[in-house]
Symmetry: C2
Subunit: 156 residues, 2 copies
């Protein structure tokens, strides 16, 4: 078991696009709600099954296992109630690794940056393209997006 501590942000510019290369992720959820998720992911010809528990503040338990690609394809095709495809770009900034996810399909237009931290109070330098923090905003969780995709959000 790993304990995942992540902070999540919107983007405020396009500067990150030239700072890394993207990889397409195909993923689906066998099960997903506010308390847990069971995710199948295919990226770069490999596949993983990931189980996450409930968020406790900004950390939560996570279990991840490599699985055969054929199993993942079968689960995506027949067992996943919710699909999320996105392009992930990894950017290193001031000694820290950022992952930036551009969503496709129903969530097109949504771009999120995430950083994984050793503990909840760890300091880090903010890249110039970093926007508003949304770590605590449940609308950016997959549980919420699966019910109300980003393309259906209305801006006031």
């Amino acid at each position: 078991m790993a304990c995942e501590i992540e902070r999540r942000f919107l983007l405020s510019g396009e500067g990150w696009r030239t700072a890394g290369t993207g990889l397409c992720l195909r993923q689906g959820f066998v099960s997903l709600d506010a308390h847990h998720s069971v995710r199948v992911r295919i990226a770069g010809g490999q596949a993983w099954l990931t189980i996450k528990g409930e968020n406790m503040a900004i950390s939560r338990p996570e279990f991840e296992y490599a699985i055969p690609l054929a199993d993942a394809e079968a689960m995506l095709a027949g067992l996943c109630s919710y699909r999320v495809d996105k392009r992930r770009t990894r950017v290193r900034y001031a000694g820290k690794d950022w992952v930036i996810d551009e969503f496709f399909g129903d969530n097109a237009g949504l771009v999120l940056a995430e950083i994984e931290l050793a503990d909840e109070h760890e300091e880090f330098a903010r890249p110039p393209w970093l926007g508003e923090e949304v770590t605590q905003d449940a609308r950016f969780s997959y549980a919420y997006l699966s019910q109300t995709p980003y393309s259906r959000w209305t801006t006031a």
Copy 2:
């Protein structure tokens, strides 16, 4: 992916008890409904994660992975919404393997025999202790038992 074809029966006697030795299974469900299940199981010091899809008649897709024991213990303790503990006895009869599960806790009193078959029409010899078939009776599914445990069933 394996495609699991199982038939399930009640027991009509105790003759099976002396025909095999039992092993205690501790298991829990990360997720469980009528369409799928994500199960953690610990037995004999080993652990597995098993994902099953929707029943199609009496067969359904199944994916199983060995996982570290410590992961399974953590998932049972913190992530499983439903726990089922039982004792499993394996009995060989007329060239076929039967598994007989005695349930504990909320399902105490329930004993089920299962046989795995190569296809839905495969013939097999019926042991003398075999009772009524309940393969199609959804009350004997974990999805139903998790909501209405056997100890709360009333007999007419």
